[in-house]
Subunit: 544 residues, 2 copies
C-alpha cells in the first residue's frame, strides 16, 4: 500500500506517523512545499519576541528523523500542484521539475494561508506574515537592523501575540482591527479588557478601522487607514486571518462543505474515495450543535491528522469534532473561551441567558489569589451549558478546560454546581469559580431570582419604573458607583427596606453579586420586584 | 417555621444561609460549641507557617454579620448535648446552663474531630491538633517561645501541610506515619516523590512506624515509636485523621450507614423525619460506583450544607455525591487524585488497567514548562475512565480538575482523546497531557499494544523469556538505565532489529514512552512479542 501525505506541519506530520504505526508495511511519502516539517507555528510570535530564545526549539522533527524512526520518505520543497483522483496520482513539482506519484490512499493536509488583503503595497519589502519559520526568520533579521515602529494588521491570536512580542523588542506598536473589537470570538467586554492591557504595555489599538494602503516605494514606510489617517511604520505585520488552502482538494473533486472548508466524515474521509483530509482547511462538526464549523487550530489539526493517518492505513478511528475552545495570553492576562456565546447561541436558535461568575484563582485567604471573571452562557429552561468565556491573571486556563470538558459531556448548570473539583487553598476555593458559576446559573434556572447584565444598566436607568440599587458599604460607594443608582447597604436592608418604593422594580448590584443576591431574595420575599445585576461592580468594570 | 442548625463551620454555615435565602420567614438559630463560626480550617497550617500572615483572614464571617445580613441567630459557645426527635427538641448547654430548644426542621452539621490515639501522654502540654482556630493560636503562641523540634504524627493532608509550615518556621520536623506511605489515598510511587520533596526541604519522614507514647511529665518532650526508638520534640502535632462526630445524630436516632457515617438521601435527609445532616460526619455516594463512602473535605461539606439548608427551608435540591477528588501542595510539588486507583477499582470488582502519561505543564518550546506525570486507571474492555492521579510542579491542578469533570461525566478514554482543551504555548501542548493520556489509553484499549508498569520490571527481569529493551540514545543510556536491560536505540531499530531474538518477549522503555511505543509497533509488525513499559524512565524514576 502506498500512502501519500500532502503537507507536513501539524495535521500532515501526525497523519504520516500514525499511518506508519498503524501499518508497518505501507510505503509512506510526505510532500511539503516549504523547507520545514512539523514546526511549532504557535511559537513563532514568541520566537520573534525572544521569549523562545533558541530557534531549534521551533523545529520539532526533521526529515531525517522521519526516515530513521518511521521509515517515512519526507520530501521538503516539493509542491503538489494537482491531484487526479481517477488515475489516483498526484503531480509534484520541485526544483528539478514535475513528476507524477501514484497513491493507494491520499491524505490532504494543505492547511491554510494568511489572508492577503487586496491593497496597494501588500507585496512591499517590510510587510510580513507570522506563519512559517522563514516568516519569523525574516522578521528577526529585520528587527536586528533596529526597527522603531510596527503596525500589526489584525487583532486576533496572531496579531495580538505578535504585537506584544514586537513591543517586547522595544518597538512602538499599533494594532489595527477592522471589526469594532479585538478577539472577535469573545464578547466585546473581554476585548475592552485586552485592549486596556495592551495599552498598559504601551501598545496602541485602533478598532473599527481597516487598512487601505501600505505606503512606501517597494519598501513599506507606513499604512493609510480607512479614515485617511496615516501611520508610520518600519514594518507591517499582516495578521488578518487564515484562509483554508482548499485548492488542491477541489482539484481532486473533493466536496467543500457549507463553511467553505473541505467536507469530511467523522473518519476524516473526503467525498472522493481513498482521499482523506485533515487540518486547517477542513470543516469540523461543532460537538455541541452538530453544525459544521471551520476553526483552524493546532489541537484539532493534530487530532484530525492522527485519525486520517490511522484510517488511511487501515485503522478505524473517529474525530468527534470541536467546541471552539481557544485561549490567548495578552500581557499578564489570560482570555479564553469555549462553546457558544449568546450571539452564537441565538444563531443556532437556542434561547440562552448569560451571567457572570466573578471569582478568584485560589482561596482569598491564601497568598496571590488573583481575580477572574467567568461568563457562562446557558440554555434557558434546560440549564444546559452552551459556552463560557473567562479572563484573569491566573487559573483561567484551568477553568476554561473544566468548562470545555463539561461542554463535551453536555453537562447542565445542575451538574456544574455538583462537580467534585480539587480544593486546597493554593489551588482554588471551597467553591471553585466554576462551581460557583454553576450555583448562580442553577439558582437562575430554578427560578429563584432574575438576573440582568451590566450592559443593561443604561436601559434600566432610563426606565422611570426601575431603580438601580447599590447594596455595598458607604466606603465602597464613595470609591465609585453607578451614576444614578441609590445606596442601601445590604447589612442595613432588614431595618431600612421600608424606605424603598414597592411600586418600583429594583436592579441590585454589589461587588461581585453575592450581597446583591442575598438582598434580592430578601426584597423579593418582602414583595419587591428585583433583579440581580450579574457580577456586580467586578463585571461592570471588568476589573481583573 | 423554626430551623435549628448544629455546627457553624463549612456545612452548618452554608446550610443556615441557604435556608435563609430559601425562606425569609423562618426563624433560624445556629449553635456552635466553639468560639468561631465559618472559619477557614483549610488555612490553619498556612497560618501557623506565616504564609497567611493575618489571622483575621481565617475568620470568614462573624456572628454579627449572620445577624445583620441573614437574620440568623448564631450562638457560639453553645454545645448541643442531646436531640429528642419525638418531641422535636434539642438540649443546649452554655456557660449559663442547659436549656431546650424546639425545632420544626433540624440540620446536624457536627463535622468531625481529630482521631485521639489511645497512648500515654496524649493530653500533655505541647501536644496539638491543627483543627480549630484556638488550636492554631496555641501553636503560634508556642512557636513564639522558640521551639526547636516538632514531631508530626500522621502523613495525610494536615500532617504534611503542618510539617512543611513548621519547617518554614525553622523547626526540625519529623513526620511519623503508621502506614508504609504518606498520602494513603494515592499510589505508593506518588508517596515516594512527596517524601523526597519533604526530605529536600529538610523534613524527615518515617513510614511504617506508629507512636506508642508521648514522653514528658505533663509537658511533651518527645515520642517513643513502635520500634522503641525515641525522638525528642518540643511539640507534637497529632494529625492521625479525622473521625466523624456522629454521636448527636445517633442520639436523635439517625441511622448510620455502612461506612459509619450518618446516612442521608440525596436531599441530605437523615432516616429521622425533619432532621437533615451535612458535612464531615455524613456518608456520601461515590458518583462513579454508586457505593457509599465517607470523605470529609471542605468542598463536599459546603455543597451538602447548601442542599440541606435549602431543603430544610422548603426547597428541593440534590447533592449528587463525590468522586474523592483531592489535592495537596508539598514543597513546590502538587499531588492530586480523583476517582479510583487500581486497588479501589479491584475492591469494586472492576477489572482495570493503569498507565502513565508523562507530559509537561505547557509547550516545551515555551519557557518554564515543568514535567508532570499523570497516572490513569481505566476499565478494561470499555475504556471507561475510573480514576487519575497526578504529580508535578505546575498545572497539575488543572489536569486533575479536567479529569474529575470527565469522571463526573462518565467519559471513556475515547472521549479523553477527543477533548477540545485550550491550547496556546504558555498553557499547554497541542496535545495536552490529559488528551495524550487518553490517546495512550485508547491505543491500549483498542488492542494496538500491550503495556506494563515500571513496578513490573523486577519480575520481567527475573523471567528468562523476557528482555528489557532500552530504545533511547547511547547518551541517555550512559546517564542511567535499568540494570539488566539491553540498548538498541529506536532510530537504529529498523536496520538492526534482526539482532533481537524472536523467541523472546521484549519489554521496551524510553524516556516517557513515546519512542518505545513506536519501537513496539515496529517490532510487533515484525512478529516480536512486545510490551511498552508505561511512562518510560520518567515514570520509572517518578522524576518531576
Amino acid at each position: 500500500m502506498r500512502i501519500l501525505v500532502i503537507g507536513g506541519v501539524a495535521a500532515g506530520a501526525s497523519a504520516a506517523t500514525k499511518a506508519r504505526r498503524t501499518n508497518e508495511d505501507a510505503e509512506i511519502v510526505l510532500f511539503e512545499k516549504g523547507n520545514y516539517v512539523s514546526f511549532a507555528n504557535c511559537g513563532l510570535p514568541y520566537y520573534i519576541g525572544g521569549v523562545i530564545e533558541d530557534r531549534d526549539e521551533l523545529l520539532l522533527v526533521t526529515p531525517e528523523l522521519f526516515k530513521e524512526r518511521f521509515n517515512i520518505d519526507v520530501r521538503i520543497n516539493h509542491e503538489v500542484t494537482d491531484i487526479d483522483s481517477a488515475a489516483k496520482t498526484i503531480t509534484v513539482r520541485n526544483a528539478e521539475g514535475e513528476s507524477a506519484e501514484a497513491y493507494d490512499k491520499l491524505i490532504i493536509a494543505t492547511g491554510g494561508k494568511p489572508v492577503a488583503l487586496p491593497i496597494k503595497g501588500i507585496d512591499s519589502d517590510g510587510v510580513y506574515h507570522v506563519f512559517t519559520v522563514p516568516d519569523a526568520d525574516a522578521i528577526v533579521s529585520k528587527l536586528e537592523l533596529g526597527m522603531k515602529r510596527a503596525v500589526v494588521v489584525g487583532g486576533g491570536f496572531i496579531g495580538l501575540e505578535s504585537a506584544e512580542n514586537l513591543r517586547a523588542k522595544g518597538l512602538e506598536v499599533t494594532v489595527i482591527e477592522k471589526l469594532p473589537q479585538v478577539m472577535s470570538n469573545m464578547d466585546p467586554e473581554f476585548s475592552d479588557v485586552l485592549i486596556g492591557e495592551l495599552n498598559d504595555k504601551g501598545i496602541q489599538v485602533l478598532t473599527g478601522l481597516g487598512v487601505s494602503e501600505i505606503t512606501g516605494e517597494g519598501k513599506a514606510d507606513g499604512v493609510i487607514l480607512d479614515n485617511g489617517a496615516r501611520l508610520e511604520a518600519d514594518m507591517v505585520i499582516m495578521a488578518a486571518g487564515v484562509r483554508g488552502s482548499t485548492e488542491l482538494a477541489e482539484k481532486a473533486g473533493c466536496r467543500l462543505g457549507e463553511t467553505g472548508g473541505v467536507w469530511t466524515d467523522g473518519n476524516m474521509r473526503t467525498s472522493v474515495s481513498d482521499i482523506y483530509a485533515a487540518g486547517d482547511m477542513v470543516e469540523s462538526v461543532n460537538m455541541l450543535t452538530g453544525k459544521k464549523v471551520r476553526i483552524p487550530l493546532a489541537g484539532s489539526a493534530n487530532k484530525q491528522g492522527r485519525v486520517a493517518g490511522a484510517n488511511a492505513a487501515g485503522g478505524n478511528m473517529q474525530f468527534k469534532g470541536v467546541l471552539g475552545t481557544a485561549i490567548i495570553k495578552v500581557g499578564e492576562l489570560t482570555a479564553a473561551r469555549t462553546g457558544l456565546n449568546a450571539r452564537e447561541a441565538a444563531q443556532q436558535g437556542r434561547a440562552s441567558a448569560s451571567l457572570y461568575a466573578p471569582g478568584f484563582s485560589n482561596a482569598t485567604y491564601y497568598p496571590d489569589a488573583e481575580p477572574m471573571i467567568i461568563k457562562l452562557t446557558v440554555e434557558k429552561q434546560s440549564g444546559l451549558l452552551l459556552g463560557a468565556q473567562a479572563i484573569g491573571r491566573k487559573g483561567v486556563d484551568k477553568r476554561i478546560d473544566v468548562l470545555a470538558t463539561a461542554l463535551y459531556s453536555h453537562l447542565s448548570v445542575f451538574d456544574l454546581e455538583n462537580l467534585d473539583l480539587a480544593y486546597a487553598p493554593p489551588f482554588s476555593s471551597a467553591k471553585d469559580p466554576v462551581i460557583m458559576g454553576g450555583m448562580i446559573a442553577a439558582n437562575m434556572i430554578r427560578g429563584e431570582l432574575d438576573y440582568c447584565l451590566p450592559q443593561d444598566i443604561p436601559a434600566l436607568l432610563a426606565r422611570p419604573s426601575t431603580v438601580v440599587l447599590d447594596v455595598r458599604t458607604e466606603e465602597e460607594w464613595e470609591d465609585g458607583h453607578i451614576e444614578g443608582a441609590i445606596l442601601l447597604p445590604v447589612d442595613e436592608l432588614r431595618s431600612r427596606y421600608a424606605e424603598l418604593d414597592p411600586a418600583k422594580e429594583y436592579a441590585v448590584y454589589c461587588g461581585v453579586g453575592y450581597r446583591a443576591y442575598n438582598a434580592c431574595l430578601f426584597l423579593k420575599a418582602k414583595g419587591y420586584r428585583v433583579k440581580n445585576i450579574s457580577g456586580g461592580m467586578r463585571a461592570i468594570n471588568m476589573s481583573v
